[in-house]
């Protein structure tokens, strides 16, 4: 939130990621939920700074950010749909009368039970082609239905239910085109990376909390034979994960300064950014899962009990790998293609 609109002016991706990691030490569900809101306000703040004062985009961003600062708006954001990926949203806005009509279903709409608004990506077609567009809608828009279907292994308190858009009316100027449907573009590469990197921080925070519990437990009970080795391995994995995530944050901050918040980035830079994000995500998620698992080992049977925080961390940390774009199944192929200068177009 810009300082002139009542915020604290945080712009560092490094510090935003650390903020989410800090919150996740208390509750991973709350951390990923608020990160969804912050990904929307970050984009709006960037639009506010980049647009001419008094222009329509500037006024629109200003109005929304002021409402957020007053505590009147909480925004959930989602791109996930069943059976497709971020580049091929099937939720579609079709022209109707003076505006658009939006239909489709989004899944994993984190924080949606509490949100006043939803930001999402949709397909839109016009005379100029087939596009991905962003839209921000009030949750009381006619035709938005809450699925009430969030019942998951972990992140159970994140409110990540599905949302259905059933012929929702959308004002003509509410859609913002960001790139071609079905193809990577610089804007989509940059925006997806910036929105998702802080989520990696949540899994770092979960690992740090598990490490705290493990160390405290071993200090209290006098570490038994073998425990020192387990603690050491956990520490090495944590240091590796912290190091790559901190470096990614530093690089993102430099990128944001050099490219005027991504506006002057090239397509190649967009892929380079996404590649580095995927590498960090791979390392952090794998190590976080292993750290929590080894903390469970150290706890004996205690960590297996449902009342033990480790059992929650063990389930929550498994939400990291499948976060889009690129699960572990797909990430290596993507990273390798970027390295080979065979930039994926879709």
């Amino acid at each position: 939130m810009p300082e002139d609109l009542g915020g604290r002016g945080l712009r560092s991706m490094h510090d935003w990621t650390l903020l989410i990691a800090t919150l996740a030490k208390g509750d991973g569900s709350a951390a990923i939920a608020i990160s969804m809101h912050l990904s929307a306000t970050r984009g709006l703040a960037a639009l506010y700074r980049a647009s001419a004062p008094g222009s329509a985009p500037h006024r629109r961003a200003e109005g929304i950010l002021e409402a957020v600062a007053r505590g009147e708006m909480l925004i959930c954001s989602t791109t996930t749909e069943r059976g497709t990926d971020n580049l091929h949203p099937l939720t579609e806005a079709r022209r109707s009368g003076d505006g658009w009509r939006l239909s489709g279903t989004k899944h994993f709409v984190t924080m949606s039970p509490l949100a006043t608004h939803v930001a999402t990506n949709v397909r839109m077609r016009d005379a100029e082609g087939d596009h991905i567009a962003n839209v921000l809608l009030a949750m009381d828009t006619p035709g938005i239905h809450h699925g009430g279907d969030w019942d998951a292994l972990g992140m159970r308190a994140s409110g990540s239910q599905s949302l259905t858009f059933d012929d929702c009316p959308v004002p003509l100027d509410a859609l913002r085109r960001i790139g071609p449907w079905g193809r990577w573009s610089t804007a989509v590469l940059v925006n997806r990376t910036l929105a998702n990197v802080p989520l990696v921080g949540a899994f770092m925070g979960i690992a740090e909390r598990a490490m705290e519990i493990a160390v405290a437990g071993q200090r209290k009970a006098r570490a038994r034979t073998g425990a020192h080795h387990v603690l050491a391995e956990m520490e090495i994995m944590l240091a590796s994960a912290q190091s790559i995530l901190a470096r990614l944050g530093e690089n993102l901050d430099a990128f944001m300064t050099d490219s005027e918040e991504g506006r002057n980035a090239s397509y190649e830079q967009g892929h380079e950014l996404m590649k580095d994000y995927q590498s960090a995500k791979w390392v952090v998620n794998r190590h976080a899962i292993d750290i929590v698992s080894q903390a469970m080992d150290l706890s004996g049977g205690g960590g297996f009990m449902s009342g033990n925080p480790l059992s929650r961390l063990y389930r929550d940390v498994r939400a990291g790998p499948f976060m889009q774009p690129y699960s572990p199944v797909d990430a290596r192929g993507y990273i390798g293609r970027v390295l080979a200068d065979d930039l994926p177009e879709e």
């Binding site: 560092s12 990621t17 800090t22 919150l23 208390g26 509490l114 308190a157 190091s243 925080p309």
Partner: protein
Amino acid sequence: MSYSIQPRTPAGKQLIALASDLIGNFSARADAADRAGEIRPENFRDMQRT
């Protein structure tokens, strides 16, 4: 020496200090919220208040 990540900006330092103060409340609510499978509005009120 530790590899733990430290904030790099004044705004980050302020916000992360505030977030650190919320860990206790979040943690106290987390297990019950997990069992119920329900998002806790108190966490978001805490964040908005800070």
